[in-house]
């Protein structure tokens, strides 16, 4: 079951397809995270900042716009885009997970931060989403790697590695945490 507050008239299941793309495509996730963080921005600003090919940037922005995850905020050229924060809650078999902008930002980092990439390989995106919740606590000083390791069934070393890797994301999104 998927629930999302109505956003710009785009129904949840249609949004879900683009959200799935975001989770699978780190470069797309980077574009979304960048627009959310720095928007409104133009496509050429995205190209310059993220160092991705122009054609790719246009395609990605269009995909995000079609899914209503970003919207044009300036109707004349150069167009400017701003992003809507995602909150897509999925429930299966009594387990619930919310896909948040912070999770997308964490996925976006997997290309540049191999620690995050390895963690996703080993524990999946659900594992990453849970680790991200611990990263907020870690930043806040209300957990340490030793307790996190026991609660997540990791070694203390692996827990410390992922908490440090997610620390920048948790710090940036701390105010937005649900």
């Amino acid at each position: 079951m998927a629930q999302s507050p109505p956003r710009s008239g785009r129904p949840p299941i249609q949004q879900l397809q683009t959200v799935a793309d975001l989770l699978e495509t780190p470069a797309l996730a980077r574009v979304y995270a960048h627009i959310l963080h720095d928007g409104p921005v133009t496509v050429s600003e995205i190209v310059d900042t993220l160092d991705i090919p122009q054609g790719t940037a246009y395609d990605y922005v269009q995909n995000l716009e079609t899914a209503s995850l970003v919207e044009k905020t300036r109707e004349q050229r150069p167009y400017e885009y701003d992003a809507e924060p995602i909150a897509l809650t999925l429930s299966t078999d009594g387990k619930t997970q919310t896909i948040t902008p912070a999770l997308i930002a964490a996925v976006a980092r997997r290309e540049e931060d191999e620690d995050i990439d390895v963690y996703i390989e080993r524990h999946g995106l659900d594992g990453l989403a849970i680790a991200l919740e611990y990263a907020y606590e870690y930043v806040d000083g209300t957990v340490n790697h030793r307790i996190a390791a026991r609660e997540l069934d990791l070694s203390p070393l692996e827990a410390e590695i992922i908490l440090q890797a997610l620390e920048p994301v948790a710090t940036e999104y701390v105010g937005a945490a649900a």
Partner: protein
């Protein structure tokens, strides 16, 4: 004045990554200052205890070089018969449970080894000042709060080891 520097697992994880620049920077700073980092047995075990961590760039930490070169040393065993060490560690365990809003069962006495070691080197007179380098904020706060209550005010300092801290570290930090 003798200062002892106690380092936690997070310091070495922070040094990781493919370029190891931060590791080299820390090494240079310590060697220039002629100072070594002490790590509790617990930290030594954590660093070497998980082959799975080798898959991570930050799990590939060249800390054994530090032992060879003498700027990382494994500290003496904690002396649990020393009442101060034992008391401070019990208090730290409660403090951490409270700080993290968890039951005491989720923390182990050995989680507080950093705090215990700090108390031990102060109590035995081996150091008159201790600097705790860690990313474990609850333990750092426990040390800063509890150790002064046992007659060691202004003798313990907790430094949170951030990326920025390691990126700008020099020998000055250890003088």
């Amino acid at each position: 004045m003798t200062t002892v520097y106690i380092a936690d697992t997070g310091v070495f994880v922070r040094c990781g990554g493919p370029d190891k620049n931060k590791f080299q920077r820390l090494r240079r700073a310590l060697r220039q200052a002629g100072v070594s980092l002490r790590i509790p047995q617990r930290v030594y075990t954590e660093l070497g205890g998980d082959p799975a961590a080798d898959a991570y760039p930050s799990g590939n930490i060249p800390y054994p070089d530090g032992f060879e070169e003498g700027w990382i040393v494994v500290a003496d065993d904690l002396d649990y018969t020393n009442p101060l060490v034992s008391t401070v560690m019990d208090e730290a365990r409660r403090f951490i449970a409270n700080e993290t809003d968890r039951s005491e069962d989720i923390t182990e006495k050995a989680d507080t080894a950093l705090v215990g070691l700090a108390a031990q080197v102060l109590d035995t007179g081996e150091a008159d000042h201790v600097v705790l380098l860690t990313t474990d904020k609850p333990a750092g706060r426990a040390a800063e709060t509890l150790i002064p209550q046992h007659g060691f005010s202004d003798r313990i300092e907790f430094r949170y080891v951030s990326v920025e801290f390691l990126e700008s570290i020099t020998a000055q930090e250890f003088r």
